[in-house]
């Protein structure tokens, strides 16, 4: 998607290993979000950021941490991956709380 890139697109990892997903934006938007999408649950917010080094938890934050050292990058880290974290992860950006989000293309993560 224009202006927002997620990497990697696909990843298979073993239980107990650390994993970092990257979201990169070129829109200079203040707000960035990490969601996970699972069948039967829809999109659920993991963490979000409202500025450089300003982050907060969402509804499903256990087992995840985030960092935002630059406006353009928002990293999601699974400290010790578990099978329950197998999911599709989406990053989103927004210029303001008033506006809708622009989503990336997603990262499909499989924990075996």
């Amino acid at each position: 998607d224009a202006g927002i890139t997620q990497s990697p697109r696909h990843k298979v990892t073993e239980t107990g290993t650390p994993v970092t997903l990257r979201c990169h934006q070129t829109e200079n938007h203040r707000y960035m979000y990490w969601y996970r999408q699972d069948p039967g649950h829809g999109l659920r917010l993991i963490h979000y950021s409202y500025g450089v080094k300003d982050t907060d938890k969402g509804e499903v934050s256990d087992g995840y941490s985030v960092s935002r050292s630059k406006t353009e990058d928002f990293l999601l880290t699974l400290e010790s991956a578990t099978s329950s974290q197998t999911s599709v992860y989406f990053c989103a950006i927004s210029e303001s709380r008033q506006y809708g989000y622009t989503f990336g293309s997603g990262t499909r993560l499989t924990v075996v």
Binding site: D1, Y33, Y35, G40, H41, G42, L43, R44, L45, Y48, D56, K57, G58, F90, A92, R97, Q98, Y99, G100, Y101, T102, F103, G104, S105, G106
Partner: protein, 112 residues
């Protein structure tokens, strides 16, 4: 508890057969209702934002409406390319409450 419920879960239409998707919500302090389209393997794509009861938005064959308790996405004379999952989300007022809450989506299939 704030909730967003979409119905039906799945809808199969013939090309040209108009119908509506429903999004009902129970949130305190609604600050916007958003509709997205999601194609398989891709991130959600923004369609509309509605802010107040009685408001309507249109885009090609799609028309979104909003009441105090629900929103409808009307699809007029759909084509096969309208096949996708349609997501509804609401934004509440203030702080972390201002992040979007998503419904589980309606999967629309339009057959030629």
């Amino acid at each position: 508890e704030d909730q967003v419920t979409q119905s039906p879960e799945a809808l199969r239409l013939q090309e040209g057969e108009s119908s509506s998707l429903n999004c009902s919500y129970t949130v305190s302090g609604l600050r916007g209702l958003f509709w997205y389209r999601q194609d398989p393997g891709k991130g959600p794509e923004f369609l509309f934002t509605l802010y107040s009861a009685g408001e309507e938005k249109e885009k090609e064959r799609l028309k979104a409406t909003l009441t105090k308790k629900e929103s409808f996405l009307h699809i007029t004379a759909p084509k096969p390319e309208d096949s996708a999952t349609y997501l509804c989300a609401v934004r509440r007022d203030g702080g972390s409450q201002g992040n979007l809450i998503f419904g589980k989506g309606t999967k629309l299939s339009v057959k030629p």
